[in-house]
Amino acid sequence: MLSKRWKVILACFILALLLILVPLLLNDRYLHLLIVIACNIILALSIRLIFLAGELNVGHAAFMGIGAYTSALMATRLGLSFWLCLPTAAIVAALVATVIGFLALRAKIKGWYFAILTLAFAEAFRLIVTLWKGLTGGATGVLDVPAPYIHIPGLPVVDFGPKLNYYYLALALVSLTWVVMSRLEHSRFGLTLTAVRKSDVLSESVAINTIKYKVIAFAIGCAFAGIVGSFLAHYYYYVSPYEYTLHQTLYMLLYALFGGIGSLAGPVFGATILTLLPEFLRIAREYEPAVFGFILIITIWLLPDGLVGLRKYMNKVLVRV
């Protein structure tokens, strides 16, 4: 019999092999779907990190937009490489989040008020990019964002025309997100975030700087939103203000809630299933928001711990049987 540790390692290895090899057999339509799933997983995991610090970011899509515009403008106006644009997008999104988070939390804006503030920020962002035509191209957006490529002297150029290469990039980003999130959660930092979420009064009385921890979580979460924004800008070759709305944020929240916000696996399942679902509901496209709304209600009503909670519930039922 294998020990539990080896079982986990073996399972991870097989999963990695599948994720790397199976896409070789898929056509562009399915590759596109996998890429979107990867992006949605990153978004759901990053919005969850902020939630772990006890705050709700209703402006997550706007931070994705900040990353997208940063990256698109750097690439089109300054002609900079994607590999420089991507980290810069993350840093800019994180910096904006740090400033907003710090100012808001220091003024004791938290809980529902913080959520409303981020909502207002997202609307302000949308209006600014729509109206500041000189910089952002207004409602048209930024077009012809170049695809990334890898050119190492002596080796053939890797071009990101084929979807398969984008897929591997998305896979790398989602793996990075997973590793960072799980490391953070299972470290002292994660324990401190839990403390801050459960009781900021008790946390402060044991010398925890609650504002600092909330701001750090907010900034890291928004940095990952910025990464997705940058990636998608180059993947779709354009950015426009209509991609980064409240609607998008609500979907991210739904992914996290439906899967279960209590664990890292939850948002991954949630994002995967709910990204695939509309593909099977193609005929009912115009009803999609209604279907998602219904799912949200059912989740909150019957599955407060999400899909991941369902397993625990099933275990209980099975034990009773």
């Binding site: 002292r188 401190t192 459960k198 402060e204 010398a207």
Partner: protein
């Protein structure tokens, strides 16, 4: 120089003056009781000293340095740690996790080390955990370390509050009615622990309703009524003090 001093400490809530011109001097190594009838302003004094409320007027000095208006976490960092009147715990975390959170200030290395899980992190976590266990040992909770804090009986929850505060490595403790709701045996155990802390050099200021417990353990007592200090001195003197008797009995309340 007193370890903790307040000068003309005053707090108004609108028209109500909860605390009025309070001068406190707490010397290092003492156990001092802050007593007074309901609504005398005791908890307000605590909230101001620990940074949860900013005073309307006056100054708070800890180790000779002005700490007035500092945020609570900065004050705790300086070694002045409080507990709460209503038991405040992380109820759905384990007893050990509660105390580990209390070890926060000794556990900080940095986000990057946490992210890369370096050897120094592991070493730190081991050190912190043994410190947390020592705090649990001291408060008699080590056998309940894996229990959820919310499942402990009331008396043990109060002890856990103390263990969390001890994890911060305080030089001075502010305890807000620590033995409320404990039975006589638990109270005795708890006060015995405070005595031992005092011997280790921890200064203690505690709010107490239970006059008997306060009288038998405290070196000095300060009596508040309507936000003002009406008496101060050794327990024996307080017992004889006319003002105090009037404040407690004259109000129609017997404690």
């Amino acid at each position: 120089m007193p370890l903790l001093a307040t000068r003309n400490l005053t707090k108004h809530f609108g028209g109500l003056s909860a605390v009025q011109g309070l001068d406190l001097d707490i010397d290092s190594g003492q156990m001092v009781g802050l007593i007074g009838p309901n609504g005398a302003g005791k908890t307000t004094v605590f909230n101001m000293i620990s940074g949860f409320l900013s005073p309307t007027k006056g100054q708070i000095l800890f180790k000779g340095k002005d700490i007035t208006g500092l945020p609570p976490n900065r004050i705790a960092e300086k070694g002045l740690v409080r507990t709460f009147q209503l038991t405040t715990l992380f109820t759905d975390l384990t007893v050990l996790q509660n105390v580990l959170i209390g070890c926060h200030s000794q556990a900080r290395i940095g986000l990057w080390q946490d992210l890369f899980h370096t050897a120094s992190v592991l070493k730190r976590e081991r050190k912190v955990e043994s410190k947390a266990m020592a705090a649990l040992e001291f408060t008699g909770l080590s056998e309940f370390k894996s229990e959820l804090a919310g499942n402990l009986p009331h008396g043990r929850q109060r002890s856990l509050s103390l263990a969390i505060a001890l994890a911060v490595e305080p030089q001075m403790l502010l305890l807000d009615e620590p033995v409320t709701g404990m039975n006589a045996h638990e109270t005795e155990l708890f006060m015995g622990r405070l005595e031992r802390l005092k011997e280790k050099g921890v200064t203690i200021l505690l709010i107490e309703h239970n006059m008997l417990a306060a009288m038998s353990y405290c070196d000095r007592m300060v009596v508040l009524n309507y936000g003002q200090k009406i008496a101060e001195g050794a327990p024996a003197e307080i017992r004889q003090n006319e003002e105090v008797i009037k404040a407690y009995l004259g109000s129609g309340e017997v404690h």
